[in-house]
């Protein structure tokens, strides 16, 4: 278990010292969402209608930004050879990497998203559900993204390929994430949507770990 926390700690400390990666995704998120009121106009009706979708789409894209370097740097500098022959199972390594990635991008997204949603005139009932939906949805985004990151490790121009691979897989999270907020705003129960998001998380966790591990083993050969 120590090895697991060592990897989480190392990734977080490194990102903190280098400053770039985690911060970049959040800045991207803030700017993208801010562009919409500027483009659409300050009419509160329209913004409230599209608000949840805009923030969710921006969150998907911001998560994508941080994925490319998830395994790439470790492969380039030879770290992965040493990680592969460490006693920690590769699945645990991937889980540690996903956790560090979520702490660096998912958690800040979760903190800033309500503020942005308020800026887009999302009402109070929607806001609470929106935060719960984000909390359930963002880890799924990381686990799905890890598969893409592991598959494109070592590929040239992996970032573009990664986007093409991963974005279609994000569609269910987007649909139910937005659906939960819409339901809450229109006075219906958001529970079914949230349950599906929870189910997606439970599904993507083992699937993401297994698929990423298999892809990484392939890449090591």
């Amino acid at each position: 278990m120590t090895g697991f926390w060592l990897i989480v700690h190392r990734d977080v400390v490194m990102a903190w010292r280098q400053g770039g990666d985690g911060l970049m995704a959040i800045m991207f998120f803030l700017i993208t969402v801010t562009l919409f009121p500027l483009g659409v106009g300050p009419e509160s009706g329209i913004l409230a209608r599209i608000g949840a979708a805009v923030v969710w789409v921006a969150a998907l894209l911001a998560t994508l930004l941080s994925l490319e370097r998830m395994f790439q740097t470790d492969f380039e500098d030879g770290s992965f050879d040493l990680i592969a022959i460490a006693p920690l199972p590769l699945e645990a390594v991937v889980l540690a990497k996903c956790m560090a990635n979520w702490l660096l991008t998912g958690a800040p997204l979760l903190l800033t998203a309500p503020i942005l949603a308020m800026m887009l005139h999302m009402d109070r009932e929607g806001l609470a559900i929106f935060v719960v939906a984000m909390a359930l949805g963002t880890p799924s985004l990381v686990f799905i993204g890890a598969i893409g990151a592991a598959l494109t490790v070592g590929a040239r121009r992996g970032g573009v390929l990664l986007t093409l691979l991963v974005l279609p897989l994000y569609i269910p999270v987007l649909i139910f994430g937005v659906g939960a907020v819409e339901a809450a705003v229109t006075g219906q129960s958001a529970q079914p949507h949230l349950l599906v998001l929870g189910g997606l998380l439970l599904g993507t966790l083992p699937l993401g770990l297994w698929a990423s591990t298999t892809a990484l083993k392939q890449a090591l050969e």
């Binding site: 400390v13 380039e76 500098d77 030879g78 050879d81 920690l88 050969e221």
Partner: protein, 265 residues
Amino acid sequence: MDDTHPPSDTSQEVGVAIGAKKPQKKVGVLFAGRGLVCVRGGRTVFVGLDFALEPGDALVLMGPNGSGKSSLLRIMAGLLKPAEGDLLWHGYAVEDDARSHYARQHYVGHLDGLKVAMTVSENLSFWTGLRMGEVPSASSVRNALSAFGLDCLADFPARILSAGQKRRLSLARVLASPADLWLLDEPTVALDRDSVAALKQAIAHHQQHGGMVVIATHSEMALDRARPLHLDRFVPASELAELQEDAATVLRKNGHKAGKKGRRL
């Protein structure tokens, strides 16, 4: 480390000649490879390679560029699967229990696995901690660093290290935790004379305590109980011709010399 030493009946054992098709069951041979074949990207790098190591032995891999020294080390580390053949530890196939094989070796490859944003001691204690499953004590990290003269740089970021210092930090990793088998890929590249001496001393100490070392090198390193293994002897004839054609004149000469030495063995 000591509990993995073979029983005391090693004295009866005569070293198994490298390349000879002997059964691995002989007492004393701890780590052996049998009929190893390596194929990389469709090219056959070597075929029918055998080796055998007893505790305290050093295997020196020699051969021209592309003859498969690094590939063989990666196979020995378990990072690469041989196309054919077996690796044996105490006569048992390594792949049956890959995890324990990982635990008894140190692998130092071409790439150093260092993170430039972390300090020198953080890098070392991360790798040692990951391998041992517990955070190493500050003193053991210091000791390993000072063996390669890096203790004065412990709290500086790895970014400022020169190529040789990075190499020394990779080698310090080997000293920071015990292992029976050291796999070193060109460890002397970029090292100054003092560091080469320190490395030689570390290897000698490791061997005296029953450790084994496999080292790929171009430079002559006088090691005790060293067994040379010329990889170009295992290169398929057609591939060897190609290899030598590709290489520059100097390289071709080296390959030829190594070949001669190999036959003399």
